[in-house]
Amino acid sequence: MLHKTDSNAILFVGAALGLFFIGGLLTTVAPPLIDKSWNKPFENHDPSKGPTGKLVEYTDQEMRGYKIYIREGCKYCHTQQTRTLASDVARSGWKGVPSPVSTPDEFVYDYRQTFGTKRTGPDLSRIGGKYNKEWHRAHFRNPRDLVPGSIMPPFPWIAENPQELDDLVAYLQTRGRAKDWRPDNDYEK
């Protein structure tokens, strides 16, 4: 049948779009209808079902920080997904406690997905609460002062702008905090 598309442009257009739309619709429109966790915010109060906690919406300040994260292109070097790999779970952990894996329901309020494709710097999906604001200020001013060998660029225009620094740190402290996974609740502010 496809032989006829050789000389019939209208048939060609129909076949090319038809084949495209089968896969296109089944892999984009159908999945969120089938897997409800894509759109339902995380909430769990039963410790037997894994980590407890609740995903809350961003505050205005956190949202401003989120926009700075987008503006500076942080996601080109930092992923935000603790994958189902033993090494990811260990690396996203803190002080010997492994972190839970990332699930779709933790990202429902993310107006711009920040999962990332390249891990030039460490993953940030569980960075929330690991370092305090003073650490972040010094780190943004010159990352190599705190982490020798780091190749992260300096961000003096953020470190020296109290408003932007507060906003960005507020956003970073939300990362991975929907799930309560630190046993002593020892999150930095």
Binding site: Y76, C77, T79, S87, P104, R112, Q113, P153
Partner: protein, 472 residues
Amino acid sequence: MATNAMGESMAAPAAAAPPEIHSDTTVKWFVLGAVGYFFVVGIIALIIAAKFVWPSFLGTIPYFTYGRMRPLHVNGMLFGWLLAADIGLAYYIVPRLCGVKLWSEKLGVATSILWNIIIVSAIFSLLGGYQKGLEYADLPTPVAVLVVIAWVMFGINIFATIARRKYNQMYVSTWYLMGTILWTAFVYLTGNFATLLPGVTGVNQANLTWMYTHNAVGLIFTPAGLAIAYYFIPRASNTPLYSHKLSMIGFWSLAFVYVWTGAHHMLHGPISQWLQTIAIVFSVMLLIPVWAVVYNFIATMKGQWHQLNDNVSLKFLMSGTIFYLLTCFQGPMHSLRSVNAIVSKTDWIPGHAHMAVLGTFSFITMAGVYYVIPRVFNTTLHSESIANWSFWLFMIGGLGMFTSLWLGGFWQGWQWNNPSIPFIDTVVALKPVWMVRFLSGILIFSGIVLFLYNILSTAIAGGQAKAELARS
């Protein structure tokens, strides 16, 4: 069967209409602009490669920070150079395959002007930090709207030309270009606009983004590049295409298989396992269209390989074919969960991506540009020797970059999988690799400079000859 413009049997070399009916103004505008952006964005590419070696280089100026220059590098190379050059070559190929003039040169030139407005706005907005925040769809929405308008203008011109074609049967390059125009329209709308619909967030948005990102390569640059290769391999070698039937198998399997694979960008990540499995199955099936195409190209060259000695266009075309085979073998292999656990998110991935966009599609496109520019300016190439030098600079620089990133990335992934190695140690370990990548980048950039110089000199010489002809 014997009625299309490539003759399918080139023994009767296409009752081709005399070449002077084509004014090719649009071709010149698009291709010369693209070659210029190749150079400009090449500078950006070198700067970001340098930043991996000297992280504070240009680092205290917000406009030149890595996170703003990287999207400019990606979008600039994809849309400023590669897609613009592909569009320009389409304006050359389609009228010739249809045996008629381009439907409207005026519309074509207007499209080119709009395209330049898009690229220049993209440069300023991305460096200013005004970006949408979605990889590959980084351009701010107003600029993305202009892209859609330009695409519709391009599509109308090409389809109207095809509708008035003299040869009833369409050659395979025409199918691929029609496919490119149709699929790109929907792929671009999905990545740039469907992702912004209310309620589309998180994983849902990521899934739409990967559908776009993956198909930006698979259903925009692949069919456009293959259209060019299908046209110029027979033309540059003066040999008929090996098999029409094989080209059909390649085309229709690509049309069906490619769009299913987006979720392989999030393997092991927070996206439904069954969707990951579907993406893996279809990713492996991609071997079918790829091997059908590559076999067709290689078989076309049977008995003709000696032509590679002194034909720079063919050198680019056949190296591009080999890189296509390799990059599209890597792709399906990366989608296997076990391999993915090692290479995903590492420096292996840019090695793979550069073999696709630079090694495969830019090589094929440069072959087309080297073939077309002397012909549309009615002259000969400024220097075959400089063209040959540019080929070897691209080849050696490209191989240096690809292989260093693969080896480094594989090593990096291996270290990541041992959590007792601190993350910063895996960064420090890659520093020699990034130095090799920077030095390879210098070679590639030198290739770009020679390419730009050769093409511009050819165009200027052609323009001067025409002016003298007009005076006498």
